[in-house]
């Protein structure tokens, strides 16, 4: 029997409480780079979610059917990088041929995020938490939703900042970082909710 309440808590925790950007500070590069407009942030967020799910499922099998039985857990990092990169590459090839519209929507983001630190991070965290397959998928969906949320929030704020009277020395990345810090502070208010 699937524990729906437990899964919801897992999703919510991954998305909001332990948000990958505001709590774990992972994937900051893509976060700052692609949050200039809401359009690109939605595309990037969806692509991240997509790859997170794929990576979590693939590495779950690698971990529990290959590495753990052989006692080779110290190879996690290396095998995960290898496997994720290869699988995303394969999926990209497949989409280019058969799901052209999805490729056009994701295409430019996919190479950006194969073995991006959020992707690698979620697979390693997944191993540490010892989630089962369903939990792994939900965890990845939650983390992806959280990442999309973070991107959207910053993109919305940055679109407004374009028109705001920001002191010259803070224009651009500095004010975005300050904003991120404030957002992280706000998100820390969720701590202890679950």
């Amino acid at each position: 029997v699937i524990d729906l309440a437990g899964l919801f808590v897992l999703f919510f925790t991954a998305a909001v409480l332990n948000n990958f950007v505001f709590y774990r500070f992972l994937g900051m590069c893509a976060y700052l780079g692609l949050s200039k407009s809401i359009d690109t942030s939605v595309g990037m967020g969806l692509a991240v979610t997509f790859v997170m799910v794929i990576a979590n499922v693939v590495t779950w099998f690698i971990q529990w059917y290959l590495l753990a039985p052989m006692g080779l857990q110290f190879l996690e990092l290396m095998t995960f990088i290898l496997v994720i990169a290869a699988v995303v590459q394969l999926i990209e090839m497949y989409m280019k041929k058969h799901v052209r519209r999805m490729f056009d929507a994701f295409g430019i983001y996919l190479p950006l995020i194969t073995t991006n630190c959020t992707i690698l991070g979620i697979t390693l965290l997944n191993v540490i938490a010892q989630y089962d397959l369903v939990q792994s998928v939900v965890f990845a969906l939650g983390a992806g939703a959280g990442y999309t949320l973070a991107l959207l929030l910053l993109a919305g704020i940055r679109e407004r900042l374009e028109l705001a009277d920001v002191p010259e020395c803070l224009q651009g990345v500095p004010i975005s970082l300050i904003t991120t810090g404030l957002l992280a502070l706000a998100f820390s208010g969720f701590t202890g909710m679950v």
């Binding site: 052989m70 080779l72 290898l82 090839m93 497949y94």
Partner: protein
């Protein structure tokens, strides 16, 4: 342990490598080689003047038939013919065009109606009662067009109005889209005479707010021998297809809002030609008479508010001289002779 680890990594690497190699055959998408060749022929400025996001997208569109071979405005006819070659289409030569700012109301001649303290873009200022300029049609000179230009062809010039560097302008149309007042026109490069006003206000209003605005006096219309100038909805406009760049309208314009942008020598030459025609022969005289009467009507229309009753050509001349402060030198030599 070491052996197992090596075997695992090696095995995984081999398996994934083979899988990718196999997939690259299985999922191979034949890219249209023409797209690359079209892209190579394009300028690569990614200006978006073609209506597609960037040169690569335009190349794709041309190959797939959605874009026209001559769609690259930045590249002009040279690029269009190259693209046409790749696509096996015949491309007709396009006339080179350039951006023209149709406003001459610099801060010296058209003042402010209020002090504007807001976001320094024309688009934002326009939202607020059409901006802080006295003329609601005039250029706000906050540089939206300058920022939109990818070719550094625009520059907020010395007079406080954007100036077009025609050598750099490729007529991509980015500034046309950026201007919230719709003041920029892509005109043929060889057209040298332009109406630098877009005000559709009645002459009375224009005269109050701007020293160089078109008051629709119709003197240009009458001065034009080829029917290229028309005054419509309180504003003069030039049909570049008919215009011969003679500069007659620019010379007659009492507000100096029609500008003749030819070199001084050429302007002088066509001025002399006009005078020569006016002096010699019956045809010349007829034209002079027409010109004089035309001025009468024009002056009456334009200077009506000043109560100038211009019935005869001579009277018209006087009214014009009295009514328009911009007119010092433009009393035409043939009109007094007629009077």
């Amino acid at each position: 342990m070491l052996l197992e680890a090596a075997a695992l990594m090696g095995g995984l690497g081999l398996a994934l490598g083979l899988a990718i190699g196999f997939a690259s055959k299985l999922f191979h998408v034949e890219p249209d080689p023409r797209a690359e060749r079209v892209l190579a022929a394009l300028p690569g400025a990614n200006c978006g003047g073609c209506g597609f996001p960037g040169c690569a997208a335009f190349a794709e569109a041309v190959v797939s038939g959605k874009g026209k071979a001559d769609g690259c405005v930045a590249g002009g006819s040279a690029v269009a013919s190259k693209v046409g070659e790749v696509m096996g289409q015949k491309v007709e030569a396009q006339e080179p065009r350039t951006a023209v700012l149709r406003c001459a109301g610099s801060s010296g001649v058209c003042g402010l109606s209020c002090e504007y303290q807001g976001v320094e873009t024309c688009a934002a200022a326009t939202l607020l009662a059409s901006g802080p300029k006295r003329c609601t049609f005039g250029c706000l000179a906050m540089g939206d067009c300058v920022r939109a230009c990818r070719f550094s062809a625009l520059d907020l010039g010395e007079v406080g109005l954007p100036a077009v560097d025609e050598a750099r302008c490729v007529a991509c149309g980015a500034c046309v889209k950026a201007c919230p007042k719709g003041l920029i026109l892509l005109a043929p490069k060889k057209a040298r005479v332009h109406v630098l006003c877009q005000s559709h206000d009645p002459g009375k209003v224009v005269a109050k707010v701007c020293k160089v605005g078109c008051i629709a006096c119709r003197m240009c219309e009458k001065a034009c021998t080829v029917g290229a100038v028309r005054v419509d909805d309180e504003l003069a406009s030039i049909d570049y297809a008919k215009c011969t760049n003679c500069g007659a309208c620019a010379e007659k314009c009492p507000r100096k809002c029609i500008k003749d942008r030819r070199p001084e020598a050429e302007r002088e030459a066509s001025r002399r030609e006009r005078e020569g025609k006016a002096a010699g022969g019956k045809a010349g005289k007829e034209r002079a008479t027409k010109g004089g009467e035309g001025m009468g009507e024009g002056a009456e229309k334009g200077a009506g508010e000043m109560g100038g009753k211009a019935a005869s050509p001579g009277g018209a001349d006087a009214a014009v001289a009295k009514g328009k402060d911009g007119l010092k030198a433009s009393a035409p030599p043939e009109a007094p002779a007629k009077a």
